[in-house]
């Protein structure tokens, strides 16, 4: 009887829980991960997190899941970038010590090469964590690199970290089938738990310093302009933090800035939606013309009748 219960419980467990194979398959999704299809409970989140941790720490035998050795680096990098979504957040709003340590180990291991794929994955993970301490690490890393493309990648992560990521649901994109899983980035940083004052100021300083470097080293006007937009955007976001009075002013400015960002060809968030907005505006204006035309037509008919019958 105990055996039957044990087998049944194992079957039930296998049926309900997400498997390591599923998790690895998600990590190697051509268009990225789609965690929402795997997560049915909080327990699933823990299983995913633990699997990611074992992949990051090279404790999982990937070959036994059908992956050749040369994919192991990619799978590990993908696990690093996704880990940020699953970090636990403590009372202070920061990452738990254990999670912070996982990412800190990755940072140390790659401190000699801030442009590697693993480092780029770390920036993603820190962004995905969405906490004040992860923003601090990004700011420090930004001030450590002299490489322009890497600076841009970190700067973009800082902006998206603070702003939150409102992804487009453009149905024409094949990746649009994937509902983004961004539990820590669903809103602006100010609406998240934690003491953000110092972190926001540090981010602003690092970006300004990096921007000055780019102005010196790059003569690509487009690149300078793109970086400048990120820099200004983060400045505005940080200003919002200071006082309620400034918050109101900066909020309006931020809206303006967001509009400017939307017109940028680097807008990561609202691709497609602007076109819909433009169509709606045209639609309304067009209808106002038709309304006026019909009104004039009715007046003409009424007047005509009056003339005719008079």
């Amino acid at each position: 009887m105990i055996k039957i219960i044990f087998i049944l419980s194992l079957s039930f467990h296998a049926f309900c829980d997400v498997t390591k194979k599923d998790i690895l398959s998600e990590l190697m999704g051509i268009h990225g991960t789609n965690w929402q299809t795997l997560i049915k409970s909080d327990q699933d989140k823990l299983v995913i997190k633990e699997t990611l941790r074992t992949v990051i720490n090279n404790e999982l035998n990937l070959a036994s899941y059908g992956y050749d050795e040369y994919y192991s680096e990619d799978i590990r990098n993908n696990a690093i970038s996704e880990y940020g979504h699953f970090v636990s957040i403590d009372e202070s709003g920061n990452m738990s010590e254990a999670d912070s340590q996982v990412l800190e180990n990755v940072r140390r291991e790659n401190s000699h090469n801030l442009s590697s794929h693993t480092s780029l994955a770390l920036y993603q993970s820190l962004k995905n964590a969405g906490t004040p301490d992860s923003l601090d690490v990004l700011s420090h890393l930004l001030s450590e690199t002299q490489d322009l493309a890497t600076s841009y990648a970190i700067a973009r992560s800082i902006k998206n970290h603070m702003n939150g990521v409102k992804r487009s649901t453009d149905k024409s994109l094949d990746s649009a089938y994937i509902t983004p899983y961004k539990p820590h980035l669903n809103n602006n940083y100010q609406e998240r738990k934690g003491d953000w004052g110092a972190a926001a100021q540090l981010a602003t300083k690092s970006l300004e310093k990096s921007y000055q470097l780019i102005m010196k080293k790059s003569d690509d006007k487009n690149f300078q302009k793109d970086f400048s937009q990120i820099n200004n955007s983060v400045k505005k976001l940080a200003q919002i933090q200071s006082t309620n009075h400034i918050r109101n002013i900066a909020s309006n400015q931020s809206d303006l800035d967001t509009k400017n960002d939307n017109s940028s060809n680097k807008s990561e968030e609202i691709e497609g939606s602007r076109e819909i907005a433009a169509e709606e505006s045209t639609f309304t204006d067009k209808y106002s013309y038709y309304f006026l035309t019909v009104l004039f037509f009715l007046i003409a008919v009424i007047v005509n009748r009056k003339i005719f019958f008079s």
Partner: protein, 327 residues
């Protein structure tokens, strides 16, 4: 009576002007969508390399039209790889591709872009070759290398910006970048060519040219020509096993357009002449198909698994007809 004529004239004038204004607004709203790209100071060199990209072209993107699909090789037995050129069915038409390699100011992706391009074209052509038939054939239009520190490490969600900058109207464009943020290896639009004036896709350089795995490259091109995912990408709404409706796998245009749908059913299943939506032999859960949305752990046996061969042949026929109709 004079007053009536005056009002009538006013009415006609308003109608015409509203029509004219609406057209202007549609044009301006359409161009507004690309304002950001146009705001950027695009260099002359960029426009020499990408003369038809949105940021260089002053003309408006043309609205896609839905061509008539009445006479596809009518009365002639359809064969693999054939396309209809009105005068009859022919083979050996080729699709032009431009490869764009994005370097950073301190690093190059490729040591030899011509070699990489040749290898990629060969990989694509062999992916569309099956049992003696070249279903779709690609030819290299251009290989371009460009320094762009903002796009060297890009993101799948930046495809729109990349397409506006590097897209072309006269070729399929694949942009190779160093990194695509997170675990995304490639991204494209569905059915982007030739109905969209900017048809671009992005893939991480390392998979094809360092790992030797062309699955993401071929997979993305197939999306651009309308092939959807196999496997459980639609888990929840679609059964995990069994027959999948053909229109859902080959997603031609939006659902309301239903490009290339009913008229071609008999090309996929010669036994069927009706407009039934289900096609024999198309297995939804083909894990080893190139269009399965995950890679690395299982063999990529191409498109022609579990009876997909008819489908791909059909796709090519449909693609070419629309391409010639819209050019």
């Amino acid at each position: 009576m004079n007053f009536f004529n005056l009002l009538l004239s006013l009415f006609i004038f308003l109608n015409l002007s509203s029509c004219f204004t609406s057209r202007q607004e549609i044009k301006s709203s359409s161009s507004e969508s690309y304002t950001g790209a146009q705001d950027n100071q695009v260099t002359k060199e960029h426009c020499q390399l990408f003369p038809t990209s949105e940021v260089c072209s002053a003309s408006e993107p043309e609205a896609p039209t839905t061509p008539s699909l009445q006479t596809q090789c009518e009365g002639i037995t359809h064969e693999y790889g054939e396309v209809n050129l009105q005068t009859g069915c022919v083979k050996d038409e080729k699709i032009p591709i431009t490869f764009v390699f994005i370097n950073s100011s301190s690093r190059k992706l490729s040591t030899d872009i011509q070699l990489d391009s040749t290898v990629a074209i060969d990989a694509l052509n062999s992916a569309f070759y099956h049992q003696g038939n070249q279903f779709i054939e690609f030819t290299l239009s251009k290989s371009i290398e460009i320094v762009d520190d903002a796009f060297y490490n890009s993101s799948c969600s930046l495809l729109g910006a990349a397409a506006r900058k590097f897209g072309q109207k006269n070729a399929l464009v694949m942009i190779f970048v160093n990194d695509l943020s997170g675990s995304c290896a490639g991204v494209s639009w569905m059915w982007a060519f030739p109905s969209n004036s900017i048809s671009a896709t992005m893939v991480e350089y390392r998979y094809p040219f360092i790992r030797g795995d062309f699955t993401p490259v071929v997979h993305e091109f197939a999306h651009m020509m309308g092939l959807n995912h196999t496997g459980n990408a639609f888990e929840g709404s679609v059964p995990k096993t069994g027959i999948k409706t053909f229109n859902e796998w080959l997603k031609f245009g939006s659902l309301s357009e239903k490009r290339c749908s009913q008229e071609f059913v008999y090309y996929i299943d010669p036994e069927k002449e009706s407009t039934a939506s289900q096609v024999k032999g198309v297995s939804w859960n083909s894990y080893q198909n190139t269009m399965y949305p995950s890679f690395g752990s299982k063999p990529d046996n191409g498109f022609f698994t579990s009876g997909y061969d008819y489908s791909v042949s059909w796709a090519f026929d449909c693609w070419y007809h629309i391409a010639t109709s819209e050019s």
